[in-house]
């Protein structure tokens, strides 16, 4: 079966040599991200995130289901990642690669297990009805650093998402359409962001942020650190590879914290802009009785 080509010897040697001379292929600093772009869709809960040429779309959706029997007071929250052949022919449908398993585990640990979404708030009628929130992650283009991009997209989509308003009266659940009642945001507790370091050199002494696909193929180890702006680590994973000095890892963590704070500020700004844009005309426009026709 034809498959992906590994980088050639020339490329491997050159990237390493350049890194040792403190250069990166695209002229970035070692701790510099590629330009970050974030656009929200027309619908609530659609976020399109791009770091350079890596592009990921995340869509959040909600439906009413029955809660799990062992957790009657919790809602259901799932993140679905599927790497399709659209991103790279190396990915096949229905056959999860190692990359995909690790990516979905990381998102799970970063967003779900860290309690970013208050799942108890999703409960409607204890043991009978709850919201099921699902985020679908679609990789549109793959040029390295899927993890950070995917995590940003998931968080952005969930923060942007509005679920239909509901009320329970006398055991009867009513779900309102957006026309009847304005949809409500999710109960969001904190926003974690992933920051991935790639290590190079025999002893992993060179650390680089936001590696491109070429750089990713050459790295000897990587470490993903998830943090929120309050300085809480949600998850760290350095899954094997060349060992790296413990002190260097601590430094990486503190730089990662500043990056996570930057992301947080950026996302807040974009969300505020989006809210403003949606609110053109304001409340009075909604109340107007005559229409354009």
């Amino acid at each position: 079966m034809p498959r992906e080509i590994e980088p050639s010897l020339n490329e491997k040697q050159f990237v390493l040599q350049a890194l040792q001379e403190k250069f990166r292929l695209d002229g970035r600093q070692f701790d510099q991200y590629r330009p970050l772009e974030l656009t929200f869709g027309d619908q609530y809960g659609v976020a399109d995130v791009a770091f350079g040429k890596t592009k990921i779309l995340a869509k959040a959706s909600a439906e009413v289901t029955v809660p799990y029997a062992d957790r009657p007071l919790d809602g259901v929250f799932a993140i679905a990642t599927e790497l399709s052949p659209m991103a790279s022919p190396a990915f096949e449908v229905n056959r999860p690669t190692e990359t995909e398993v690790l990516l979905s585990r990381l998102l799970e640990k970063t967003v779900r297990r860290s309690g970013a979404l208050d799942t108890e708030s999703l409960c409607l009628v204890a043991g009978q009805k709850c919201w099921s929130i699902r985020v679908d992650v679609h990789v549109l283009s793959h040029d390295g650093n899927l993890i950070d991009t995917a995590c940003f997209a998931v968080v952005a989509a969930l923060r942007h998402f509005r679920k239909p308003d509901t009320s329970v009266e006398g055991g009867i659940l009513t779900v309102y359409t957006p026309a009847e009642r304005e949809p409500v945001p999710l109960s969001w507790l904190h926003s974690p962001f992933c920051v991935t370091w790639s290590f190079y050199g025999d002893r992993g002494e060179i650390a680089v942020l936001d590696a491109t696909w070429t750089e990713e193929q050459i790295r000897v180890a990587s470490c993903t650190i998830s943090l929120n702006r309050h300085g809480e680590i949600c998850q760290i994973s350095k899954l094997g590879g060349t060992p790296v000095e413990a002190v260097a890892l601590l430094q990486c963590t503190s730089i990662a914290l500043t990056k996570a704070k930057d992301f947080s500020v950026f996302l807040d700004k974009k969300l505020a802009e989006d809210t403003k844009k949606r609110n053109i005309g304001g409340f009075m426009a909604e109340l107007r009785s005559e229409n354009d026709r």
Partner: protein
């Protein structure tokens, strides 16, 4: 020459017979993107710009993108995948079947003395055979003169990926006038010392003693490609990159 107004075609379009070049002696040659359906229909198979060369009595469709399809006499940069008894198996593009490069198709190679190339090494080669349903065959030596003529293993340096369109424009005999790419000349004129090899399969190899220079040329190529820069913009880009370097 091509018509003054560029003509764009879509797959399956009918081509106006007046556009098809005619020549007294030479037979009509069809380039990439055109298909001859007997008896006399010519149909484009890709979307792009229709170009006709009346002197050579040939026509083809210029397009940018898609995967490289080997054609005879193309210069390509391939990567050695593995070595067999008499052949090297080469990769030209990811996710395609291999091309073969006979181990004797190098300048001065004999049974006893032939280049030993490790897997992953880059080779600048010419496509000799390219048939459908067959692996393409490459060579690094001109069969008529027996000389390498610049082909052979590429040592050091860095290979950058560019779009097929840019690679083709860089390979044009007069890349500046016809291809509208001047960036390499501009950088050279600014005093950068580097050498390049352009592969039709969308790879540009850049060699230099200084890593900084290689990176700069690579960035210049990428930005020219991504931004679809015209000649004036390329001039600005060259100036800006040189300034950044200093």
């Amino acid at each position: 020459m091509a018509t003054a107004q560029p003509l764009y075609v879509l797959p399956g379009d009918t081509i106006d017979p007046s556009l098809i070049p005619t020549h007294k002696k030479l037979p009509l040659r069809l380039g990439p993107g055109l298909r001859h359906i007997p008896p006399s229909a010519i149909v484009p198979t890709v979307a792009g710009q229709l170009v006709a060369d009346h002197k050579k009595n040939s026509m083809w469709v210029e397009y940018n993108g898609g995967r490289y399809i080997p054609a005879p006499n193309d210069l390509v940069i391939g990567q050695i995948q593995r070595s067999a008894a008499d052949f090297y198996f080469m990769n030209l593009t990811p996710f395609t079947s291999n091309a073969t490069l006979p181990q004797l198709a190098f300048e001065g190679a004999t049974k006893k003395n032939r280049p030993q190339l490790a897997s992953g090494a880059l080779v600048y080669a010419r496509v000799v055979l390219a048939n459908r349903h067959m692996d393409p065959e490459l060579e690094c030596v001109s069969s008529s003169t027996g000389k390498a003529e610049g082909l052979g293993p590429l040592t050091g340096g860095m290979a950058f990926d560019v779009s097929l369109g840019l690679a083709r424009r860089l390979l044009m005999a007069r890349s500046r006038e016809e291809g509208k790419v001047e960036i390499l000349e501009l950088l050279g004129a600014e005093g950068l010392a580097f050498e390049t090899a352009v592969g039709r399969n969308g790879k540009v190899w850049v060699g230099s003693d200084s890593a900084k220079t290689i990176i700069l040329v690579g960035r210049a190529l990428r930005e020219t490609d991504d931004g679809k820069l015209d000649v004036d913009q390329q001039k600005k880009l060259a100036k800006r990159l040189i300034r950044e370097m200093k």
